[in-house]
Amino acid sequence: MKKKTIFGHWEASAIIVNLICTKIFLNFPRMAVEEGGTAGWILAVYIAILAILGFTVIQKLYRPFEGKDLLDIAELAAGNIGRIVVGFVILFCLGWGTVAYMRMFSENMKLISLTTSPLSYVELFFVVCLVVGAFFGIEALSRLHAFVVPIIAVGFLMIMLGAVNYIDAGNLLPIFGNGLSAIFIEGAQKVSDYSEILVLFLLAPFLKKYDVMKSTGYWSLVISALFLVVSVLVFSTVFPYPSSLEITIPIFNVARLIKLGRFFQRVESVFLFIWAASSLLYITVNFYLILFTFQKAFRLDYYKPLILPLAIIVLSLNFLPSDFAVVVTYEVEVFRSWSWIPAFVMPILLLILGRRKNRQSAGQDESKQQKS
């Protein structure tokens, strides 16, 4: 008999928090400063509030669909075509996340520590992790997240606390930075930084109960928001604006500053460890979810025969962009500006359609019973 995988909200929260917060180690603090100027931290708070509001609407609509993922709901709402179309959208989002992050992590890793290694060599480590992670499946991945993500969180907070000596609150002035419209109108689309919440709607069958899904969503959004806001706050108080815009890897540069007496120096090695762990978990879980979505959207019996071919496709797609700048441009200016549509608008529309379909079929059942 096939064993059904179920895990709790600790594991699921660890997955979502890692998916949302990995961008802290890449470019989130700089992106927030680019958008909001010295008020980057206000932008981070604002998009967190928007994401929580969006999730509140979605979880209210989700109540009748306990234990169903987004593909099940798409099928209920629009039949096979709905399932396939939503499958393609999710595959695109996850695929982009995997390919872009893998390239960015590898390029940054090359920049910091593996300076003479070729890019293909660095990416090979990621591919091995993808294949092994996908082979072991979601249960092993969720347990690994539950264990490793708290260690990453402690490492991150250590770096943030270590930078306290370099904080200058005056760097936060003028308080509204680039202006109210840059923060609250143009900045609103940066809620896309929370678009990984989409994964929660794929994990719903593993969480089984509606209450677990709801608490997982809120916990992971609040914890992620806390980390994102702290990262921007520390970055923009340590490095004055606009010189902070020239920093490629913000948290790495914060970590390099830390010197606490004779014994606590070169803290960037902690950063390297948590960064590598976080990125490997991000890419592995994303890749597993690509396989899961592919299997479910196209009704396949197994996903394991697709692990190797899809890993090779992901690796090849990594080499398609001509350079690192192209990936960052597409990631920040296109994907991180518009991914709120598949993450928030698509689930809301599907849930509304699904509820309508439910009501229609309930009405038809009642009329049949009255006739008989």
């Binding site: 396939i84 592919f294 196209f298 009704r299 396949l300 019996d301 197994y302 025969p305 697709l306 190797l308 071919p309 899809l310 090779i312 496709i313 690796l315 090849s316 797609l317 080499f319 398609l320």
Partner: protein, 59 residues
């Protein structure tokens, strides 16, 4: 000029494509036509994309 490394790599990719296609055939026989079509697409891309990058992009 093609090196022996490229030939080995393309051979490896062909093996994976054949393995994937066989899964597609199995899915086709189970009457899942669209699923099988998608698997055949994966089998095709797994050869075409790396070969394109190896031979054309590197040049």
């Amino acid at each position: 000029m093609m090196s022996i490394g490229y030939i080995v790599l393309i051979g490896f990719l062909l093996c994976i494509a054949i393995y994937t296609a066989s899964f597609g055939v199995w899915t086709w026989k189970r009457k899942n036509r669209f699923g099988a079509f998608m698997i055949f697409m994966v089998a095709l891309i797994v050869v075409v994309l790396p070969v394109y990058i190896l031979l054309f992009r590197e040049a």
